[in-house]
Subunit: 198 residues, 2 copies
Amino acid sequence: MVRHERGEMFGRPRSTTHESIESVALDLFGRNGFEQTTVDDIAAAAGIGRRTLFRYFASKNDIPWGRFSEGLAELARRLEEAPRDEPVWQALHDAILDFNAVPAGGEDQHRRRMRLLLGTPALQAHSALMYAEWRGVIARFVAERRGIAADDVRAVVVGHAALGVSLAAYETWLAHDDADLGEQLDAALGALRDHLAE
Amino acid sequence: MVRHERGEMFGRPRSTTHESIESVALDLFGRNGFEQTTVDDIAAAAGIGRRTLFRYFASKNDIPWGRFSEGLAELARRLEEAPRDEPVWQALHDAILDFNAVPAGGEDQHRRRMRLLLGTPALQAHSALMYAEWRGVIARFVAERRGIAADDVRAVVVGHAALGVSLAAYETWLAHDDADLGEQLDAALGALRDHLAE
DNA sequence: TCCCAAGTGGCACTCCGTGTCACTACTGTG
DNA sequence: CACAGTAGTGACACGGAGTGCCACTTGGGA
Protein backbone atom coordinates (compact mmCIF):
# COMPACT_ATOMS: atom_id res chain seq x y z
CA MET A 1 0.00 0.00 0.00
CA VAL A 2 2.28 2.73 -1.27
CA ARG A 3 1.34 6.41 -0.99
CA HIS A 4 2.01 8.48 -4.07
CA GLU A 5 2.45 12.22 -3.86
CA ARG A 6 1.09 12.98 -7.32
CA GLY A 7 -1.99 10.86 -7.14
CA GLU A 8 -3.21 12.37 -10.38
CA MET A 9 -0.60 10.49 -12.37
CA PHE A 10 -2.13 7.16 -11.44
CA GLY A 11 -4.97 5.28 -13.04
CA ARG A 12 -6.90 6.38 -16.06
CA PRO A 13 -6.30 10.04 -16.93
CA ARG A 14 -9.20 12.48 -16.69
CA SER A 15 -11.01 13.01 -19.94
CA THR A 16 -12.18 16.56 -19.17
CA THR A 17 -12.01 19.43 -16.67
CA HIS A 18 -14.43 21.55 -14.66
CA GLU A 19 -13.48 24.56 -16.75
CA SER A 20 -14.16 22.79 -20.02
CA ILE A 21 -17.61 21.61 -18.97
CA GLU A 22 -18.45 25.00 -17.51
CA SER A 23 -17.45 26.80 -20.67
CA VAL A 24 -19.55 24.53 -22.88
CA ALA A 25 -22.51 24.79 -20.51
CA LEU A 26 -22.45 28.59 -20.19
CA ASP A 27 -22.40 28.79 -23.94
CA LEU A 28 -25.49 26.61 -24.22
CA PHE A 29 -27.25 28.42 -21.37
CA GLY A 30 -26.59 31.72 -23.09
CA ARG A 31 -27.91 30.55 -26.41
CA ASN A 32 -30.88 28.39 -25.40
CA GLY A 33 -31.64 29.44 -21.84
CA PHE A 34 -30.93 27.58 -18.62
CA GLU A 35 -34.20 25.66 -18.32
CA GLN A 36 -34.22 24.67 -21.98
CA THR A 37 -30.74 23.18 -21.78
CA THR A 38 -30.76 19.61 -20.51
CA VAL A 39 -27.89 17.87 -18.79
CA ASP A 40 -27.77 15.49 -21.74
CA ASP A 41 -27.25 18.45 -24.07
CA ILE A 42 -24.30 19.65 -22.01
CA ALA A 43 -22.73 16.21 -21.73
CA ALA A 44 -23.09 15.62 -25.46
CA ALA A 45 -21.63 19.04 -26.31
CA ALA A 46 -18.74 18.43 -23.92
CA GLY A 47 -18.14 15.02 -25.41
CA ILE A 48 -18.55 13.13 -22.14
CA GLY A 49 -21.15 10.85 -20.64
CA ARG A 50 -24.00 12.20 -18.58
CA ARG A 51 -22.82 10.16 -15.62
CA THR A 52 -19.37 11.69 -15.85
CA LEU A 53 -20.76 15.21 -15.82
CA PHE A 54 -22.42 14.48 -12.48
CA ARG A 55 -19.04 13.48 -11.09
CA TYR A 56 -17.64 16.91 -11.88
CA PHE A 57 -20.70 18.90 -10.76
CA ALA A 58 -23.12 17.80 -8.09
CA SER A 59 -26.02 19.28 -10.00
CA LYS A 60 -26.91 21.29 -13.07
CA ASN A 61 -27.42 24.26 -10.77
CA ASP A 62 -23.83 24.07 -9.57
CA ILE A 63 -22.31 24.55 -13.00
CA PRO A 64 -22.67 28.34 -13.35
CA TRP A 65 -21.00 28.92 -9.98
CA GLY A 66 -17.76 27.45 -11.22
CA ARG A 67 -14.92 27.65 -8.74
CA PHE A 68 -16.76 29.86 -6.26
CA SER A 69 -15.79 27.83 -3.20
CA GLU A 70 -12.12 28.26 -4.01
CA GLY A 71 -12.67 32.02 -4.15
CA LEU A 72 -14.06 31.96 -0.64
CA ALA A 73 -10.79 30.72 0.79
CA GLU A 74 -9.13 33.71 -0.87
CA LEU A 75 -11.67 36.07 0.70
CA ALA A 76 -11.04 34.58 4.13
CA ARG A 77 -7.29 34.97 3.74
CA ARG A 78 -7.71 38.54 2.53
CA LEU A 79 -9.69 39.36 5.68
CA GLU A 80 -7.14 37.83 8.00
CA GLU A 81 -4.51 40.15 6.60
CA ALA A 82 -6.53 43.31 7.18
CA PRO A 83 -4.86 45.78 9.55
CA ARG A 84 -6.30 45.44 13.01
CA ASP A 85 -6.62 49.17 13.64
CA GLU A 86 -9.09 49.52 10.80
CA PRO A 87 -12.81 49.54 11.62
CA VAL A 88 -14.36 46.16 10.99
CA TRP A 89 -16.85 47.48 8.48
CA GLN A 90 -14.02 49.18 6.59
CA ALA A 91 -11.96 46.00 6.38
CA LEU A 92 -15.02 44.14 5.18
CA HIS A 93 -15.88 46.70 2.59
CA ASP A 94 -12.35 46.68 1.17
CA ALA A 95 -12.19 42.91 1.07
CA ILE A 96 -15.58 42.65 -0.61
CA LEU A 97 -14.60 45.21 -3.22
CA ASP A 98 -11.51 43.15 -3.85
CA PHE A 99 -13.41 39.88 -3.95
CA ASN A 100 -15.76 41.26 -6.57
CA ALA A 101 -13.13 43.02 -8.64
CA VAL A 102 -13.53 41.84 -12.19
CA PRO A 103 -10.35 40.60 -13.85
CA ALA A 104 -9.52 43.17 -16.53
CA GLY A 105 -11.16 42.31 -19.82
CA GLY A 106 -13.52 39.80 -18.24
CA GLU A 107 -16.26 42.31 -17.56
CA ASP A 108 -18.57 41.03 -20.26
CA GLN A 109 -18.21 37.42 -19.20
CA HIS A 110 -18.76 38.34 -15.57
CA ARG A 111 -21.90 40.26 -16.50
CA ARG A 112 -23.26 37.31 -18.45
CA ARG A 113 -22.57 34.90 -15.64
CA MET A 114 -24.13 37.12 -13.00
CA ARG A 115 -27.11 37.88 -15.18
CA LEU A 116 -27.68 34.16 -15.49
CA LEU A 117 -27.25 33.56 -11.74
CA LEU A 118 -29.45 36.46 -10.61
CA GLY A 119 -31.99 36.22 -13.41
CA THR A 120 -32.85 32.52 -13.40
CA PRO A 121 -35.29 31.47 -10.67
CA ALA A 122 -33.81 28.00 -10.27
CA LEU A 123 -30.36 29.53 -9.85
CA GLN A 124 -31.52 32.31 -7.55
CA ALA A 125 -32.82 29.60 -5.31
CA HIS A 126 -29.73 27.45 -5.51
CA SER A 127 -27.48 30.43 -4.90
CA ALA A 128 -28.83 30.70 -1.38
CA LEU A 129 -26.68 27.72 -0.50
CA MET A 130 -23.55 29.43 -1.84
CA TYR A 131 -24.42 32.63 -0.02
CA ALA A 132 -24.58 30.72 3.24
CA GLU A 133 -20.91 29.77 2.91
CA TRP A 134 -20.01 33.33 1.99
CA ARG A 135 -21.85 34.72 5.02
CA GLY A 136 -20.07 32.21 7.19
CA VAL A 137 -16.69 33.65 6.17
CA ILE A 138 -17.85 37.16 7.04
CA ALA A 139 -19.42 36.13 10.34
CA ARG A 140 -16.30 34.25 11.43
CA PHE A 141 -14.14 37.27 10.67
CA VAL A 142 -16.40 39.61 12.66
CA ALA A 143 -16.58 37.15 15.52
CA GLU A 144 -12.81 36.87 15.66
CA ARG A 145 -12.35 40.64 15.66
CA ARG A 146 -14.98 41.26 18.29
CA GLY A 147 -14.09 38.31 20.48
CA ILE A 148 -17.54 36.76 20.25
CA ALA A 149 -18.87 33.42 19.01
CA ALA A 150 -19.39 32.94 15.27
CA ASP A 151 -23.06 32.14 15.85
CA ASP A 152 -23.62 35.24 17.96
CA VAL A 153 -26.35 37.36 16.45
CA ARG A 154 -23.95 40.33 16.32
CA ALA A 155 -21.68 38.43 13.94
CA VAL A 156 -24.39 36.64 11.98
CA VAL A 157 -26.27 39.83 11.22
CA VAL A 158 -23.18 41.44 9.72
CA GLY A 159 -22.78 38.48 7.39
CA HIS A 160 -26.36 38.83 6.26
CA ALA A 161 -26.11 42.58 5.87
CA ALA A 162 -22.86 42.41 3.91
CA LEU A 163 -24.45 39.91 1.57
CA GLY A 164 -27.46 42.18 1.21
CA VAL A 165 -25.27 45.13 0.30
CA SER A 166 -23.45 43.05 -2.28
CA LEU A 167 -26.61 41.68 -3.86
CA ALA A 168 -28.24 45.10 -4.00
CA ALA A 169 -25.14 46.42 -5.73
CA TYR A 170 -25.13 43.55 -8.21
CA GLU A 171 -28.78 44.00 -9.04
CA THR A 172 -28.41 47.67 -9.87
CA TRP A 173 -25.14 47.04 -11.64
CA LEU A 174 -26.83 44.50 -13.91
CA ALA A 175 -29.72 46.86 -14.55
CA HIS A 176 -27.42 49.58 -15.87
CA ASP A 177 -24.98 48.70 -18.61
CA ASP A 178 -22.77 51.69 -17.92
CA ALA A 179 -22.56 51.20 -14.15
CA ASP A 180 -19.39 50.30 -12.27
CA LEU A 181 -19.70 47.47 -9.77
CA GLY A 182 -17.34 49.04 -7.26
CA GLU A 183 -19.26 52.29 -7.29
CA GLN A 184 -22.53 50.44 -6.77
CA LEU A 185 -21.05 48.66 -3.75
CA ASP A 186 -19.97 52.01 -2.31
CA ALA A 187 -23.37 53.50 -2.97
CA ALA A 188 -25.20 50.57 -1.42
CA LEU A 189 -23.13 50.61 1.73
CA GLY A 190 -23.43 54.37 2.04
CA ALA A 191 -27.19 54.23 1.59
CA LEU A 192 -27.53 51.61 4.29
CA ARG A 193 -25.47 53.64 6.75
CA ASP A 194 -27.56 56.72 6.06
CA HIS A 195 -30.73 54.74 6.42
CA LEU A 196 -29.83 53.40 9.83
CA ALA A 197 -28.33 56.65 11.11
CA GLU A 198 -31.38 58.72 10.30
CA MET B 1 -72.79 33.98 -19.34
CA VAL B 2 -73.97 34.92 -15.87
CA ARG B 3 -71.48 36.02 -13.22
CA HIS B 4 -72.03 34.56 -9.79
CA GLU B 5 -70.73 36.29 -6.69
CA ARG B 6 -70.12 33.11 -4.75
CA GLY B 7 -68.37 31.19 -7.44
CA GLU B 8 -67.32 28.58 -4.90
CA MET B 9 -70.85 27.29 -4.61
CA PHE B 10 -70.86 26.16 -8.21
CA GLY B 11 -69.60 22.96 -9.74
CA ARG B 12 -68.05 20.09 -7.86
CA PRO B 13 -67.13 21.02 -4.30
CA ARG B 14 -63.49 20.98 -3.26
CA SER B 15 -62.41 17.76 -1.67
CA THR B 16 -59.67 19.32 0.45
CA THR B 17 -58.03 22.60 1.50
CA HIS B 18 -54.56 24.10 1.51
CA GLU B 19 -54.56 23.96 5.28
CA SER B 20 -55.47 20.30 5.38
CA ILE B 21 -52.73 19.29 2.95
CA GLU B 22 -50.21 21.49 4.71
CA SER B 23 -51.02 20.00 8.08
CA VAL B 24 -50.67 16.44 6.83
CA ALA B 25 -47.45 17.29 5.02
CA LEU B 26 -45.80 19.06 7.96
CA ASP B 27 -46.63 16.08 10.09
CA LEU B 28 -44.91 13.72 7.64
CA PHE B 29 -41.95 16.06 7.19
CA GLY B 30 -41.51 16.22 10.93
CA ARG B 31 -41.62 12.48 11.36
CA ASN B 32 -39.72 11.24 8.31
CA GLY B 33 -37.79 14.26 7.11
CA PHE B 34 -38.45 16.48 4.11
CA GLU B 35 -36.36 14.63 1.56
CA GLN B 36 -37.60 11.22 2.64
CA THR B 37 -41.23 12.21 2.22
CA THR B 38 -42.44 11.86 -1.36
CA VAL B 39 -45.30 13.75 -2.90
CA ASP B 40 -47.11 10.45 -3.29
CA ASP B 41 -46.82 9.89 0.45
CA ILE B 42 -48.42 13.24 1.15
CA ALA B 43 -51.21 12.78 -1.36
CA ALA B 44 -52.00 9.33 -0.01
CA ALA B 45 -51.99 10.56 3.59
CA ALA B 46 -54.24 13.46 2.63
CA GLY B 47 -56.59 11.14 0.78
CA ILE B 48 -56.27 12.94 -2.54
CA GLY B 49 -54.65 12.24 -5.86
CA ARG B 50 -51.12 13.29 -6.60
CA ARG B 51 -52.31 15.50 -9.45
CA THR B 52 -54.75 17.26 -7.16
CA LEU B 53 -52.00 18.07 -4.69
CA PHE B 54 -50.11 19.87 -7.44
CA ARG B 55 -53.18 22.00 -8.09
CA TYR B 56 -53.09 23.25 -4.52
CA PHE B 57 -49.32 23.72 -4.31
CA ALA B 58 -47.06 24.49 -7.24
CA SER B 59 -44.32 22.29 -5.81
CA LYS B 60 -43.38 20.20 -2.83
CA ASN B 61 -41.12 23.06 -1.76
CA ASP B 62 -44.05 25.43 -1.59
CA ILE B 63 -45.98 23.44 0.97
CA PRO B 64 -44.13 24.52 4.13
CA TRP B 65 -44.56 28.19 3.22
CA GLY B 66 -48.32 27.93 3.50
CA ARG B 67 -50.13 31.21 3.04
CA PHE B 68 -46.99 33.38 3.08
CA SER B 69 -47.97 35.45 0.06
CA GLU B 70 -51.18 36.49 1.72
CA GLY B 71 -49.18 37.66 4.72
CA LEU B 72 -47.13 39.92 2.48
CA ALA B 73 -50.18 41.95 1.54
CA GLU B 74 -50.80 42.46 5.24
CA LEU B 75 -47.21 43.66 5.74
CA ALA B 76 -47.55 46.12 2.88
CA ARG B 77 -50.78 47.52 4.32
CA ARG B 78 -49.22 47.78 7.77
CA LEU B 79 -46.38 49.86 6.31
CA GLU B 80 -48.70 52.21 4.47
CA GLU B 81 -50.40 53.08 7.73
CA ALA B 82 -47.15 53.97 9.51
CA PRO B 83 -47.05 57.60 10.72
CA ARG B 84 -45.08 59.70 8.27
CA ASP B 85 -43.12 61.58 10.92
CA GLU B 86 -41.50 58.35 12.09
CA PRO B 87 -38.01 57.51 10.79
CA VAL B 88 -38.22 54.99 7.96
CA TRP B 89 -36.08 52.44 9.74
CA GLN B 90 -38.30 52.73 12.81
CA ALA B 91 -41.49 52.14 10.82
CA LEU B 92 -39.85 49.16 9.17
CA HIS B 93 -38.66 47.70 12.42
CA ASP B 94 -42.10 47.98 14.00
CA ALA B 95 -43.83 46.46 11.03
CA ILE B 96 -41.37 43.59 10.85
CA LEU B 97 -41.79 42.86 14.54
CA ASP B 98 -45.51 42.79 13.94
CA PHE B 99 -45.22 40.62 10.86
CA ASN B 100 -43.21 38.06 12.77
CA ALA B 101 -45.30 38.14 15.92
CA VAL B 102 -46.27 34.59 16.70
CA PRO B 103 -49.96 34.03 17.34
CA ALA B 104 -50.24 33.20 21.05
CA GLY B 105 -49.94 29.47 21.65
CA GLY B 106 -48.56 28.81 18.20
CA GLU B 107 -44.95 29.24 19.22
CA ASP B 108 -44.09 25.56 19.01
CA GLN B 109 -45.65 25.12 15.60
CA HIS B 110 -43.92 28.26 14.33
CA ARG B 111 -40.60 26.97 15.61
CA ARG B 112 -41.08 23.62 13.89
CA ARG B 113 -42.02 25.27 10.62
CA MET B 114 -39.09 27.68 10.69
CA ARG B 115 -36.68 24.97 11.70
CA LEU B 116 -37.81 23.01 8.68
CA LEU B 117 -37.54 26.01 6.36
CA LEU B 118 -34.15 27.20 7.58
CA GLY B 119 -32.68 23.76 8.20
CA THR B 120 -33.49 21.94 4.96
CA PRO B 121 -31.14 22.75 2.08
CA ALA B 122 -33.80 22.32 -0.60
CA LEU B 123 -36.08 24.68 1.30
CA GLN B 124 -33.34 27.20 2.07
CA ALA B 125 -32.81 27.42 -1.64
CA HIS B 126 -36.47 27.67 -2.51
CA SER B 127 -37.03 30.29 0.17
CA ALA B 128 -34.88 32.72 -1.78
CA LEU B 129 -37.80 33.15 -4.15
CA MET B 130 -40.15 34.02 -1.28
CA TYR B 131 -37.62 36.43 0.17
CA ALA B 132 -37.48 38.27 -3.13
CA GLU B 133 -41.18 39.13 -2.81
CA TRP B 134 -40.71 40.16 0.79
CA ARG B 135 -37.80 42.44 -0.10
CA GLY B 136 -39.88 43.96 -2.85
CA VAL B 137 -42.49 45.09 -0.33
CA ILE B 138 -39.81 46.73 1.81
CA ALA B 139 -38.07 48.37 -1.13
CA ARG B 140 -41.32 49.80 -2.48
CA PHE B 141 -42.14 51.28 0.92
CA VAL B 142 -38.72 52.89 1.24
CA ALA B 143 -38.89 54.19 -2.31
CA GLU B 144 -42.28 55.76 -1.69
CA ARG B 145 -41.13 57.44 1.50
CA ARG B 146 -37.93 58.76 -0.01
CA GLY B 147 -39.41 59.73 -3.34
CA ILE B 148 -37.05 57.51 -5.33
CA ALA B 149 -37.56 54.61 -7.74
CA ALA B 150 -38.20 51.15 -6.31
CA ASP B 151 -35.19 49.79 -8.16
CA ASP B 152 -32.90 52.52 -6.86
CA VAL B 153 -29.99 51.01 -4.99
CA ARG B 154 -30.90 53.07 -1.92
CA ALA B 155 -34.26 51.31 -1.68
CA VAL B 156 -33.09 47.87 -2.79
CA VAL B 157 -30.31 47.74 -0.22
CA VAL B 158 -32.71 48.43 2.61
CA GLY B 159 -34.86 45.50 1.51
CA HIS B 160 -31.84 43.24 1.52
CA ALA B 161 -30.61 44.51 4.86
CA ALA B 162 -34.01 44.18 6.53
CA LEU B 163 -34.20 40.61 5.31
CA GLY B 164 -30.71 39.98 6.61
CA VAL B 165 -31.63 41.31 10.04
CA SER B 166 -34.71 39.11 10.11
CA LEU B 167 -32.88 35.97 9.06
CA ALA B 168 -30.07 36.55 11.53
CA ALA B 169 -32.66 36.93 14.26
CA TYR B 170 -34.47 33.76 13.20
CA GLU B 171 -31.25 31.76 13.11
CA THR B 172 -30.26 32.69 16.64
CA TRP B 173 -33.83 32.32 17.85
CA LEU B 174 -33.92 28.77 16.54
CA ALA B 175 -30.56 27.99 18.08
CA HIS B 176 -31.77 28.94 21.56
CA ASP B 177 -34.93 27.36 22.86
CA ASP B 178 -35.47 30.02 25.49
CA ALA B 179 -34.95 32.99 23.18
CA ASP B 180 -37.65 35.49 22.23
CA LEU B 181 -37.96 36.28 18.55
CA GLY B 182 -38.79 39.95 19.09
CA GLU B 183 -35.76 40.41 21.30
CA GLN B 184 -33.53 38.76 18.72
CA LEU B 185 -34.84 41.14 16.06
CA ASP B 186 -34.06 44.10 18.31
CA ALA B 187 -30.62 42.74 19.05
CA ALA B 188 -29.85 42.09 15.40
CA LEU B 189 -30.91 45.55 14.29
CA GLY B 190 -29.00 47.17 17.14
CA ALA B 191 -25.88 45.19 16.36
CA LEU B 192 -26.02 46.22 12.72
CA ARG B 193 -26.39 49.90 13.60
CA ASP B 194 -23.45 49.70 15.98
CA HIS B 195 -21.40 47.89 13.39
CA LEU B 196 -21.94 50.53 10.74
CA ALA B 197 -21.60 53.50 13.10
CA GLU B 198 -18.24 52.42 14.46
C1' DT C 1 3.29 -9.07 -19.60
C1' DC C 2 0.32 -8.81 -15.98
C1' DC C 3 -1.68 -6.11 -12.30
C1' DC C 4 -3.69 -2.25 -10.22
C1' DA C 5 -5.63 2.26 -9.44
C1' DA C 6 -8.51 5.79 -10.99
C1' DG C 7 -11.67 7.47 -14.27
C1' DT C 8 -15.53 6.58 -17.50
C1' DG C 9 -20.12 5.84 -19.09
C1' DG C 10 -24.10 2.81 -19.96
C1' DC C 11 -28.29 1.00 -17.72
C1' DA C 12 -32.00 1.04 -14.79
C1' DC C 13 -34.33 3.23 -11.31
C1' DT C 14 -36.80 6.91 -8.25
C1' DC C 15 -38.86 11.18 -7.81
C1' DC C 16 -40.56 15.80 -9.24
C1' DG C 17 -43.37 18.28 -12.15
C1' DT C 18 -46.68 18.81 -16.34
C1' DG C 19 -50.14 18.06 -20.21
C1' DT C 20 -54.18 15.72 -21.31
C1' DC C 21 -58.62 13.98 -20.69
C1' DA C 22 -62.47 11.49 -19.10
C1' DC C 23 -65.09 11.49 -14.99
C1' DT C 24 -67.61 13.21 -10.90
C1' DA C 25 -70.40 16.05 -7.88
C1' DC C 26 -72.54 19.85 -7.27
C1' DT C 27 -76.19 24.23 -8.67
C1' DG C 28 -79.81 26.35 -11.04
C1' DT C 29 -83.55 26.05 -14.48
C1' DG C 30 -87.68 24.45 -16.99
C1' DC D 1 -87.33 15.10 -12.29
C1' DA D 2 -84.41 15.52 -16.10
C1' DC D 3 -80.91 18.40 -17.96
C1' DA D 4 -77.20 21.60 -18.97
C1' DG D 5 -73.52 24.10 -17.11
C1' DT D 6 -69.49 24.41 -14.09
C1' DA D 7 -65.65 23.43 -11.32
C1' DG D 8 -62.87 20.05 -9.24
C1' DT D 9 -60.68 15.36 -9.43
C1' DG D 10 -57.41 11.84 -10.49
C1' DA D 11 -55.52 8.30 -13.77
C1' DC D 12 -52.10 7.96 -17.34
C1' DA D 13 -48.12 9.03 -19.73
C1' DC D 14 -44.09 11.58 -20.36
C1' DG D 15 -39.60 14.29 -19.82
C1' DG D 16 -35.79 15.75 -16.95
C1' DA D 17 -32.79 15.58 -12.67
C1' DG D 18 -30.15 12.87 -9.90
C1' DT D 19 -28.29 8.07 -8.07
C1' DG D 20 -26.55 3.21 -7.45
C1' DC D 21 -24.32 -0.26 -9.75
C1' DC D 22 -20.92 -2.29 -12.54
C1' DA D 23 -18.32 -3.55 -16.45
C1' DC D 24 -14.94 -1.29 -19.15
C1' DT D 25 -10.89 1.67 -20.33
C1' DT D 26 -6.40 3.77 -19.77
C1' DG D 27 -2.49 4.73 -17.98
C1' DG D 28 1.78 3.51 -14.56
C1' DG D 29 4.45 0.20 -11.98
C1' DA D 30 6.36 -4.49 -10.81
